[in-house]
Amino acid sequence: MEIVKTENLTFEYIRRDEEDNVEGITTAVDDVSLSVEHGEFIAILGHNGSGKSTLAKHINAILYPTEGTVWVDGNDTKDPDKLWTIRNTAGMVFQNPDNQIIGQVVEEDVAFGPENMGVPTKEIWERVEESLKVVGMYEYRKSSPNRLSGGQKQRISIAGVLAMHPKCIVLDEPTAMLDPIGRKEVIDAVRGLNEVEKITVILITHYMEEIVHADRVFVMDKGHIEMEGTPREIFSQVEKLKSLRLSVPQVTELAYKLKKRGLPIPDGILTTDELTEALKRCR
């Protein structure tokens, strides 16, 4: 059974003006059908306003589909009896690190999820320790979150979700507000979740270099899924990505343009090493 499956998922919201009159209807997610297998690393890519965050919030049952259905581990998100099961199965990390940390001490924040689930005290301590170790923040367990860097705060948020022992973690642009160092810390932690902890990861982002390690990539535009494939397949379509307000890593674009100039270079070059090797073969 798939961990996440959506069928014809559509989400609309009604825009109202100041007098509460309906101004129009916006379709944020438009007829999306996708399925994610256990243990996969999925990236959802799209420009600001492409509907990727709205889609993500359906997986945690924060939003409900206007039409269509979302199943998380076989449970329909519209079923009120399954709400808490779903939220414990699919954890969620948000964009702004400050706005999702509840505790005033790192370890207390990580404990928040398990506390809500009614986990016995002794086990909460075990889970807090184990989760903080996974994201490499164990030594900061007694710190105040306010003293941490953005990347560290996001890793705390990831640990907080991890402590709930979810099967799947959805990360909604977790790196959008971070500097390159913070971004790397978070992406490394996310890869660890997937590769070591075997947790299904759904990463929402608009940074191309973050999707390189994904098993599959979905590219969204205007609420639709416009492209689907492995990172290499996606990256080989430079023009299409640009038309979707996205970009490719500089080296990919360089390779693509050299290919257009007539050099026999394969599609979807992702690193400078790959480019060097490809060019050596051209000699």
Binding site: N48, G49, T272
Partner: protein
């Protein structure tokens, strides 16, 4: 309208246990109409430095001269300085407050003591330059998209017609297209208005295209201050302080090592394509 920063140091919370040195003997000149990229990672002191440029922070030691006058002189009005040196903070959309976009952009010019009419004229020009369409002028700024809010907020400072426009990470959180739009607009603003631009960023790619000069900061000191290509040639040193030359430059350096006769001073994709193509005689 040049700005000279002369041996400036700054210490946060001096004389307390929280004391920390944020700037260490900074010397920097910003010339007329120059596009300067100020690069460094979080905590390198770049945000502290830019707050000195318009007098929000006072140097612990050293002086800053704007047009030959010391900005800490008692007869140099802070108000004048702030309208000459426009500072746009990170996430400038958090400063929007008026009921409609147009009034919000008028706020700066009005504070300069201009009449409503003059202020509106400047606001109009600024909004046009940031490519905000007329239809949004009388909407609430809170209803705009993220990228639009960002542009309106920048217009709010630009409307004061500063001689130097300083922007602290203006592209943070924007998607690639939104990022390119802002960078291109900034370059246009520089070309059309002739003002200097100081762009603070932690990404070399952001500034490679347009900057005349790149200033690299680390631990409160300036490490490099040179033309982009010269700065990027110090690829190894940059990596040591947690920064990286743009990917094109790194690719060219690697190719050169492998024996390709490429010009490593190419800093954008177009010129890099040319120099590689030349190696293959095409």
């Amino acid at each position: 309208m040049s700005m000279i920063i002369n041996h400036v140091s700054y210490v946060y919370n001096p004389g307390t246990p929280m004391e920390s040195k944020a700037l260490n003997d900074i010397n920097l000149v910003i010339n007329d109409g120059e596009f300067v990229g100020l690069i460094g990672h979080t905590g390198s002191g770049k945000s502290t430095l830019v707050q000195h440029l318009n007098g929000l922070l006072k140097p612990t030691s050293g002086e800053i001269y704007f047009n030959g006058r010391d900005i800490s002189d008692s007869d140099f009005s802070k108000k004048e300085l702030r309208s000459r040196v426009g500072l746009v903070f990170q996430y400038p959309e958090h400063q929007l407050f008026e009921a409609d976009v147009f009034s919000d952009v008028c706020f700066g010019p009005r504070n300069q003591g201009l009449s409503q009419k003059e202020a509106e004229l400047k606001a109009f020009t600024a909004l046009k330059q940031l490519k905000i369409e007329d239809e949004y002028f009388y909407q609430s700024p809170f209803d705009l998209s993220g990228g639009q809010k960002r542009r309106v907020a920048i217009a709010g400072v630009l409307a004061m017609e500063p001689d130097i426009l300083v922007l602290d990470e203006p592209t943070a959180g924007l998607d690639p297209a939104g990022r390119d739009e802002i960078l291109n607009m900034l370059n246009d603003i520089r070309n059309e208005r002739g003002c200097s631009i100081v762009l603070v960023s932690h990404s070399m790619e952001d500034v490679a295209e347009f900057a005349d000069r790149i200033v690299v900061m680390d631990h409160g000191s300036i490490v490099f201050d040179d033309e982009p290509a010269s700065v990027f040639s110090h690829s190894a040193e940059l990596e040591k302080i947690g920064l990286r030359a743009p990917e094109v430059t790194r690719a060219l350096i690697k190719l050169k090592k492998e024996g390709f006769d490429v010009d490593v001073s190419c800093i954008n994709i177009e010129t890099a394509v040319e120099t590689i193509a030349k190696c293959f005689g095409i």
